[in-house]
């Protein structure tokens, strides 16, 4: 399995990775800004004109679901999923690598398994041709976010297998966090959800 770290000496790989990471970044930023605009227009339409956009809530929910799973690709790339590394940080080589290998293998297995089950469910919605109640969007598209999300997580974890085992993620996705100190690539980023 190859590793996509932005290591010194790996400039070509690095630029390819940057282009690859720009895609999910662009999608999530665009979608959340569209969602904010849609919410605002809906509020104005409802309270100023008494005529809300009926499909707005459904569309915003589907946007959020897609954003969550596309964003999870970046989180997985950085190895920044929330966890409690009480024991793993105290371990030394080679036990740390052994534990990280097991963790990563389980992560690969679970993400792959969920992707498979999710594929079956999404295909079922596609076959039934079920649509959302108000916006009449195909439900397979909404459910497909989980399928593609977990498939992408499986691929990303496989590509970054070595980083997960070593416990070092290089420059990561390069996302900066405001208000707080610069996020260290090898540490989980802070969340408001996490506080």
């Amino acid at each position: 399995m190859s590793d996509g770290d932005l290591r010194p000496g790996g400039r070509e790989t690095g630029s390819v990775v940057r282009y690859f990471l720009a895609v999910p970044k662009t999608i999530i930023a665009s979608l959340i800004l569209v969602s904010i605009a849609l919410n605002f227009v809906n509020v104005v339409a409802r309270y100023a004109f008494g005529d809300p956009i009926a499909w707005a809530e459904e569309v915003m929910i589907f946007i959020m679901i897609w954003c969550v799973f596309i964003g999870a690709i970046l989180v997985s790339w950085d190895g920044s999923h929330l966890k409690m590394d009480l024991i793993s940080v105290t371990l030394r080589a080679p036990w740390k690598q052994v534990l990280n290998s097991v963790t990563t293998a389980v992560m690969l297995g679970i993400c792959g398994f969920v992707a498979l089950q999710s594929y079956d469910a999404s295909m079922l919605f596609a076959r039934l041709g079920q649509k959302s109640v108000v916006a009449e969007l195909p439900m397979a598209i909404a459910h497909g976010a989980i399928t593609l999300g977990f498939l992408a997580l499986t691929v990303v974890v496989a590509v970054r297998f070595r980083s997960y085992v070593v416990g070092s993620f290089g420059a990561g996705s390069g996302i900066s966090f405001g208000g707080g100190p610069p996020a260290k690539p090898d540490e989980p980023a802070d969340t408001k959800g996490g506080g």
């Binding site: 970044k25 999530i28 930023a29 959340i32 969602s35 904010i36 919410n39 605002f40 809906n42 509020v43 309270y47 809530e57 915003m60 929910i61 959020m64 679901i65 954003c67 969550v68 799973f69 596309i70 964003g71 999870a72 970046l74 989180v75 999923h81 929330l82 966890k83 409690m84 009480l86 024991i87 793993s88 940080v89 534990l99 963790t103 992560m107 679970i110 993400c111 398994f113 969920v114 089950q117 999710s118 079956d120 999404s122 909404a142 459910h143 989980i146 399928t147 996302i175 405001g178 208000g179 707080g180 100190p181 260290k184 980023a189 802070d190 969340t191 408001k192 959800g193 996490g194 506080g195």
Partner: protein, 424 residues
């Protein structure tokens, strides 16, 4: 089956597995090995867990808070609070608590509050004679108030998990948050008085007017956004969306603190943080569903009832558990994993679930600055460069003050619930 649901997550948690993988791995083991249901249920329950309009307020509030936090808003807030304090004993340290409380009402981010307010006040506090231990302890702990003062992502997650009104939870957090600030203020006042520290400029209405004008747009955010919600005009999600537009307008066009590129970066980082949290929401939905169908919460309630202990004793145990969990786990994950187990117990012993949400939030906010793994400690370490050997003892009195506040908040439900009566 029940032991798998208990032991497996704990083992995987201790081994450092990502939280969402722990929840999904446990669910997979149970579905494959012990239950006779279609495996596609895993997907369906996950989808159903995040297919909720209320959850949309999470990315919106994160975006608005992050955007406000990046500009020069914190500086304006600090100057505003400082102008109110005048030459009160310990005014600069009191400003830290006051600014964090107001910052929490605008950004809602605890770690961001520590970084933003801490960066501004650490140097001046040290210059005025506060020692490193007290200064770092104060700035690290006072940021946690932001979790309790609305808007609070933790409360949104609790409201979602326990099926409680987010508006009620938000308004229930106001007095407890202010109470904690008041207790911390009292401790600071005594500390400064004993050491004879008196700093700051004499109070002047002119100065207050000037700083209020400078901070007015920032101070207007909670009034406009949360006011509409409390008045029952808009839903929490709509209020969060309005907060985003308000934040864009004031940071980009009024204060001119941030470029469109900056707003774009905030959009990326806020969705990144949202993904970290909501993927756990999706996985926790499956775990919660399995808990319900296997009757674990009901068994726990029956067990507690069979012990015939007083409700206050149960609350002591729950508080101790939450304080311990808060030291190790981030508040969002803790809320999502523990609420399905603890809320039925709280309900069974007669605790209002809105009040219980505040108890959980306060407990977990204390965990934010409690060694060894409080997130604010790491932020403070990075921002102030204070060694842990100095920071840990500096935190001790503030942990004590917050635990005292927790006791009052736990056993005086009116403190949390009184304002909820006025909400539509």
């Amino acid at each position: 089956m029940a032991w798998i649901m208990t032991v497996l997550p704990i083992v995987l948690l201790l081994l450092g597995f990502p939280i969402f993988i722990i929840l999904l791995a446990t669910a997979t083991v149970l579905l494959v090995g012990f239950m006779n249901v279609p495996l596609t249920q895993l997907h369906l329950v996950m989808f159903g867990s995040i297919d909720k309009f209320a959850l949309l307020s999470v990315p919106f509030f994160i975006f608005a808070g992050d955007l406000m936090g990046r500009g020069g808003l914190s500086k304006r807030l600090v100057e505003w609070v400082l102008s109110i304090m005048g030459r009160t004993q310990g005014s600069l340290a009191l400003t830290a608590v006051g600014a964090n409380t107001v910052f929490g009402a605008i950004s809602g981010s605890s770690a961001a509050a520590v970084a933003a307010i801490g960066q501004l006040l650490y140097g001046p506090l040290r210059e005025k004679g506060y020692d490193e231990r007290f200064t770092s302890g104060l700035l690290t702990s006072s940021g946690a108030i932001a979790l309790i003062i609305p808007p609070s992502i933790i409360m949104i997650l609790y409201g979602y998990s326990a099926e409680q009104s987010i508006t009620h939870l938000f308004i229930a957090g106001i007095l407890p948050g202010m109470f904690i600030a008041l207790l911390m203020g009292a401790y600071i006042y005594v500390f400064a008085a004993r050491r004879g520290i008196r700093e700051g400029e004499k109070f002047s209405w002119r100065r207050l007017g000037r700083t209020t004008r400078a901070a007015a747009w920032a101070l207007g955010a909670p009034v406009i956004v949360l006011g509409g919600m409390y008045a029952g005009i808009v839903s929490p999600t709509e209020a969060a969306g309005i907060a985003c537009v308000y934040a864009i307008v004031i940071t980009r066009y009024v204060y001119r603190d941030i470029s469109w590129k900056g707003i774009w970066d905030v959009a990326i980082s806020s969705m990144y943080l949202t993904s970290q949290v909501l993927i756990i929401v999706a996985a926790a939905g499956v775990f919660s569903w399995l808990l319900t169908v296997s009757g674990v919460p009901q068994s726990l309630v029956q067990f507690i009832e069979s012990l015939e202990v007083e409700p206050w004793m149960v609350l002591v145990v729950i508080n101790l558990l939450l304080l311990a969990v808060g030291c190790l786990l981030d508040p969002g994950s803790a809320i999502l994993v523990l609420t399905p187990l603890l809320a039925p117990i709280a309900k069974a012993i007669g605790v209002d679930l809105v009040h219980f949400g505040i108890i959980m939030t306060v407990n977990l906010s204390i965990g934010m600055f409690t060694p060894p793994f409080g997130i604010n400690i790491f932020v403070a370490q990075a921002v102030f460069r204070t060694p842990l050997s100095v920071l840990y003892p500096g935190l001790a009195p503030f942990i004590g003050v917050n635990i005292l506040a927790l006791v009052v908040i736990t056993y005086v439900p009116q403190l949390s619930l009184v304002l909820t009566r006025f909400v539509q």
